[in-house]
């Protein structure tokens, strides 16, 4: 994440992480989750599910912030996200802090 100005509580705020689970055969391919995901974690896949719809798939593994928006907006109860506990946090946290440091230079 890039900041125009470093937030004062930057060190204290921890970004939550989540894993998205897609129940593919329940999906009807409406595309709400793909459209409204704030982190663009999902795209419509090329493959078909049992009913012949294109379910979404996760492309940006580890960028999910567990906002639960896909879970709330899915009309078919086919997608949900689960929070990853802090100690299992993914690797890209280091990347984020590096970017933050870069911004700090100017």
């Amino acid at each position: 994440m890039k900041f125009w100005r470093k937030p004062l509580d930057y060190d204290k705020v921890s970004v939550p992480h989540g894993t998205v689970t897609i129940i593919k055969d329940r999906c009807k391919g409406c595309g709400f989750c793909v459209e409204y995901c704030p982190k663009d974690v999902l795209v419509m896949s090329e493959g078909f599910n049992k009913k012949g719809y294109h379910p979404p798939e996760v492309v940006k593994e580890g960028e999910c912030v567990n906002c639960n928006l896909c879970e709330m907006i899915c009309p078919d109860f086919a997608i949900f996200s689960v929070a990853i506990p802090e100690d299992e946090a993914p690797e890209n946290e280091e990347e984020a802090s590096e970017e933050g440091e870069l911004d700090d230079e100017d």
Binding site: T21, G29, P75, F77
Partner: protein, 298 residues
């Protein structure tokens, strides 16, 4: 390693809404891009957040696309005849006052076929939460003109456009005496959930109108694109205006949709008025309904 872990998780995992749904009936029959499923999810989340006792919660629906909700929710449920969800809910609430009764139905069912019941339940201020899912059309029966179809919108019985003035539901509810009136679209998921949660903790006749896309009929007959296009339209055109005058919140065809909480007030409910009246008239001779269980309580 993480892939394997995730695969295991995906197979084992069950959707968080599963305890609230009859999972043997899922997948549901609603069309792709229909918004009713989203409203059901919001309602289940509100039940979870409000921490209501699920054994003391009942859900009633009428006929129509939204009428299917009573069959999918794992609550005490009843699927009534067309338009008669509110009368059934009234009877249930008066007979078992300890229950938390929700009427979950569509616009054609509640203000079309059951319009008379709607206005009289609001007039009497029966203690019901009415969730009115408005898709502007009678969708299950093939897209006939509904009492909420906006002017000039096409329906299968009005192929040259509708010329009947539609109902303004928040105004109707407010004028008839509802104590909580709100309108949201099914894109406002957090706000809909908040409204449900808030309304679950209140008393009186509470009406929440939720506007949902109907891609198969309303949108197809009016050439509005898919449900996703309608969601984008709600994103652009929905204005949030809490406490707006309900006379100004009418919906025209593809015009601005005013959302928000319009009415929130306290009024004595039907049961409270009845209790008070008889207590005044009969004095000590009056035997009230036991508040914890009704006459059926053992």
């Amino acid at each position: 390693m993480s892939n394997v872990k995730q695969k295991v998780r995906a197979e084992e995992a069950e959707h968080p809404i599963a305890p609230y749904l009859r999972m043997d009936r899922i997948p549901h029959i609603w069309c792709p891009t229909c918004g009713i499923g989203t409203v059901v999810k919001c309602y289940a989340t509100a039940l979870e957040e409000a921490e209501v006792d699920l054994d003391k919660t009942a859900i009633i629906s009428g006929i129509g696309c939204t009428g299917r909700v009573a069959g999918y929710m794992k609550l005490d449920a009843f699927h009534t005849t067309h338009g008669r969800a509110i009368p059934f809910g009234t009877g249930l609430k008066l007979g078992r006052p300890e229950l938390n009764v929700t009427v979950f139905s569509g616009d054609g069912d509640l203000v079309g076929i059951g319009g008379n019941h709607f206005i009289h339940a609001a007039r009497r201020n029966i203690d019901l939460l009415v969730i009115l899912v408005n898709n502007f059309i009678y969708a299950m029966t093939g897209g006939q003109n509904a009492p909420t179809t906006p002017l000039v919108a096409r329906s299968s019985t009005m192929p040259f456009g509708n010329y009947e003035a539609p109902f303004n539901i928040p105004n109707l509810a407010k004028c008839c005496g509802a104590t909580y009136v709100a309108r949201w679209t099914c894109l406002h998921i957090r706000r809909v959930t908040k409204a449900f949660r808030e309304a679950l903790g209140k008393k009186g006749f509470r009406v929440i109108e939720v506007i949902t896309p109907c891609a198969t009929l309303y949108s197809r007959l009016n050439k509005l694109g898919t449900g996703l296009d309608l969601m984008k339209f709600y994103h652009d055109e929905a204005d949030i205006c809490h406490g707006a005058d309900t006379r100004d919140v009418e919906i025209d065809f593809q015009s601005r949709i005013v959302c928000g909480k319009f009415v929130d007030e306290e009024k004595p409910t039907f049961s409270e008025r009845r209790e008070e009246h008889y207590r005044n008239k009969l004095g000590d001779d009056f035997v009230g309904m036991p508040s914890e269980g009704g006459w059926l309580h053992e």
